[in-house]
Subunit: 232 residues, 2 copies
């Protein structure tokens, strides 16, 4: 039983709050029984497993938790990255909110067969907030990494200024990558030019200019997955 | 220029961090120029308007801000509630995450003509986190309040265990209320029984059990709005 705050495992967990340390150590932490169950179900073995009252004193675990309420268990895992692939995948460009990245991992896990590919400027999917928002989908379907120039297949760029409504898109028979950018900046011009299809989610004239990027991604994956299922 | 932290307006803003005070005073606060611009565009007059360096010392405003980074401007407004109505509206039951409530306000503002009606157990749409997540849609389209028994029209209950897929739903010609419950508990049995239609968002067999409630609401409003536009 760990009884000292200077324990090396606790120190590691504390470091993993920080993106640079996650990258340097190639590790990340997940908190709570639901997430650890999801990890086990997906076949992930923790490098470190600390249960309050069993492996470590409860107060010491709470101190290294990123949850205000503390936690009963923390697991440390090695990061994994999916290769691009699947019939329907997602590319995010400069989506810098970790809650949105985690939410999109969960939506893509439910609606598409391919990974979420993270481009430059995206939030770290292994940050505590993204891991929580992903609700275990991170383990079942790890994110990938990509540069815009490396994307292959039919690129469908979500763009509020596009003329075509999403429901009018014919994705065709090949692999499709739905591309979304940050809410204000959108996708870089280079990617908009390379995209085979530019489409928008129709919004009411008296509505907001755009949806939150996680909502836009979810709607796009829902529509395209339905459309591809109908064609199959 | 306010130079004392004991100023009554600053005290009021501090109180408005707390739900009981928002209810007692029937007021709420919004922070930042984007939100205050959205309020002005929708014709809301602030009861109190404090600009850093003009009406109040910058540090004092930062102290009552709910943003970690501080803020340049805070407006205090009187709460408003929309009456039920519209061709397509939303009912939320015990959706207790303020970020989700705000996100759904924004999605409904973009996709539907009716309000978001909040039932028992929902997060306060006028909490700082919900106001931020709503991105100004709160002002353009204030939320409503409802008891499940008072809902009128065609009730479409989102239920992961329903047999009908959302894309197979015929909403009919009358007003439609999309009903969503909390992620784990779902909708109360009484409401599921009263619903004219129970539908699910089809998810992959190897996917998560459900989507985040804000994602589910957005997909449902998108699908039903498209369907109703096609019928019109």
């Amino acid at each position: 039983m760990i009884t000292s705050p200077h324990n090396e495992q606790l120190k590691t967990i504390r470091k993993l709050h920080d993106r640079r340390w996650r990258e340097r150590l190639d590790l990340f932490a997940a908190e709570g029984e639901d997430l650890l169950d999801a990890a086990a179900a997906a076949g992930w073995e923790p490098e470190v497993l600390l249960r309050a009252g069993e492996d470590v004193e409860r107060d010491l675990l709470d101190e290294v938790s990123t949850l205000g309420s503390g936690t009963r268990v923390i697991g440390v895992y090695r990061r994994r990255w999916s290769a691009p692939g699947g019939r329907l995948s997602t590319y995010l460009h400069a989506v810098d909110d970790p809650g949105n990245v985690g939410t999109i991992l969960r939506a893509a896990h439910g609606l598409a067969d391919g990974p979420v590919l993270l481009g430059p400027g995206c939030a770290d999917p292994y940050s505590p907030k993204a891991v929580r928002a992903g609700m275990g989908s991170l383990f079942a379907r790890p994110p990938g990494r990509a540069e815009p120039a490396s994307l292959e297949g039919t690129l469908v760029a979500l763009d509020p200024r596009a003329e075509t409504a999403l429901a009018g898109v014919d994705p065709g028979p090949g692999p499709v990558v739905v591309c979304l950018g940050a809410e204000r900046e959108g996708l870089p011009g280079e990617l908009l030019e390379r995209a085979s299809i530019r489409a928008r989610i129709p919004l009411r004239d008296d509505g907001p200019e755009s949806l939150n990027v996680a909502m836009a991604a979810t709607v796009a994956l829902y529509e395209l997955a339905n459309r591809m299922a109908a064609d199959a």
